[in-house]
Amino acid sequence: MSGILTYALHYEGEFNKNSLGAVSEAAKLASELGQEAAAVVVGGDDLSDELCSSLGRYGASKVYRAKAPEGLAQPVVDAMAKVIEDNGYTYALFGGGLLGFEIGAGLTARLGAGVTMEVTEVKAQDGKLVAVRPILQDSAVVDVDYVGEPGIIIGRLNAFEIAEQGDGQATVEDVDVQLSEWSTKAKMVERGEQRGADVNIEDANILVAGGRGLGKAENFKLCEDLADALGGAVAATRAVVDAGWYPYAAQIGQTGKTVAPKLYLAAGISGAIQHKVGMQSSENIVAINKDQNAPIFEFSDLGIVGDLHKILPKLTDAVKAKKG
């Protein structure tokens, strides 16, 4: 047998968007190869038959359900390695979240398999899959294929689009997984803790985002003032959220939110790929950074090389004056 296996992450009764993208992509590629796509789900009693079989809507023909601790990678590695070995899947494909990277890497070691990461596109050619992956800060793109089976493909965040394909139901099969000893040695103490106040940045038409270049937490005031003048909201990078400068709810990027406002004004943000994936679809991107080599200038529509501490207050005043 052959086919493409994915992992679908769920939380509080819903599947993760990236996972649904991965299932959709796997289904599309499998049909091009004349194969089938399946998904593995791992968790407790909340994984109802109904929830699992709903992955059929995204093209999975089969869902393997394993009872094991959720939110950690290694139990999923155990489950997927067993499913691959028992059923001969030729590829494993993941969306771009944290767990996808960890599970894909674990499978690489367990199965001696080739892995590609940050994949932005997958092509089916000559009955095989070729992963397309940007490298060197996106200055080049490589086509990679696999030696032997299976091949592990870890997508970049949001690289794979969610595609509903009818109201199909996936068959649900329970898998009895023997966890590796080391997979039981990490235990979730608390999951999904929200830190800081709640702010809604997903619906804003205009976002002013701040990064490390602000220098200190207090300087977020500069972003807040400009956002007020523009009638927008404030967003932040992971670095400053982890540093405690701004609430998690305002975070853009790989482990935060994905936004596409009319205007995204980035202040003191270098534009690392983890941030870029969360905002690159914005209609207009304006970047202010003192480093002329900052990657953000490569994908901004208007770039200002200069000191944000000087520019932001004056820009706020000028916007206010213009709007009257």
């Binding site: 979240g97 894909g104 490589v142 990490a186 490569e298 090389v305 200069g306």
Partner: protein, 264 residues
């Protein structure tokens, strides 16, 4: 407690990185430095040692790479590692993630660490994955992108940001932990530490010294192959303003925004 920190030599951030068209691998010539993400891992090891909650006997920096990688080890030692191990062998050249993870795991086995720390990604390959590959080979629990570690006897309490917010995870030792750059601010090495770094013990190992099966590393042991290198998809370059007169700069920005009806 014995801590091994995996470090890597990468092209200096100021050096333009390129692919070698003949080998289809990253051209690793030119100025090099210790991977900046790894300095956070060394600092994390130092803070566990200095924290006093557990006794740290030794911090060992471990790398795999060509002869020049010795400089990354010297830097690691100047930042606090007690000694270092350099896995180097022509057979390792052109190893992919699968082969690299296997080789690193084998050399780590010769040290039997209680904790393996590494930076969450390397500045050149952007892999994110090596920690989890190494962990599975070593049969140890593993977490990546950790931003807080509290060490106690026999276990670590780790925090990290995951898909749905912050997770707190209790991990039994021995374990492999990759840290994010938010975990700490690495210290600067003292002049004395820099001068003394070359005098600290440095052990060089070949693949056979580390018990590595040569057929599982290098090009032959790699499970991926690069078929083609292409330029990135075209994106029209944006307009750039160098801020000289800030009044003028903000007027240009306002005009630009107004043209796109963003000041309505």
């Amino acid at each position: 407690l014995k801590i091994c920190v995996l470090v890597k030599e990468v092209p200096d951030a100021a050096v333009e990185k390129r692919m070698d068209p003949s080998t289809k691998r990253l051209d690793r010539s030119g100025e090099k430095n210790l991977n900046p993400f790894d300095t956070h891992a060394i600092e994390a090891a130092m803070q566990i040692k200095e924290g006093g909650a557990v006794d740290v006997d030794e911090i060992v920096a471990v790398t795999m790479g060509p002869e020049s990688a010795v400089r990354a080890l010297h830097k690691a030692v100047s930042l606090g590692a007690d000694r270092s191990v350099h896995l180097t062998d022509a057979a390792l050249e052109n190893s992919d993630v699968c082969a690299t993870g296997y080789a690193l795991a084998e050399v780590l086995k010769t040290e039997s660490p209680d904790l393996v720390l590494l930076g969450q990604q390397s500045d050149d390959g952007e892999c994110y994955t090596v920690g989890a590959v190494v962990a599975d080979h070593l049969q140890m629990p593993s977490l990546t992108q950790v931003i807080k570690i509290d060490a106690s006897d026999g276990s670590l309490r780790c925090e990290r940001q995951a898909e749905y917010g912050y997770d707190t995870v209790e991990v039994e030792l021995p374990a492999v932990i990759s840290v994010g750059d938010a975990i700490n601010e690495p210290r600067y090495p003292s002049l004395k530490a820099i001068m003394g770094a070359k005098k600290k013990p440095l052990e060089t190992k070949s693949t056979s010294d580390a018990g590595i099966d040569a057929s599982k590393v290098g090009s032959d042991g790699s499970r991926t192959q690069v078929l083609a290198i292409n330029p990135p998809p075209e994106k029209a370059a944006g307009e750039i303003i160098e801020d000289e007169d800030t009044e003028e700069t903000v007027q240009k920005i306002v005009a630009w925004l107004d043209e796109r009806k963003l000041l309505a």
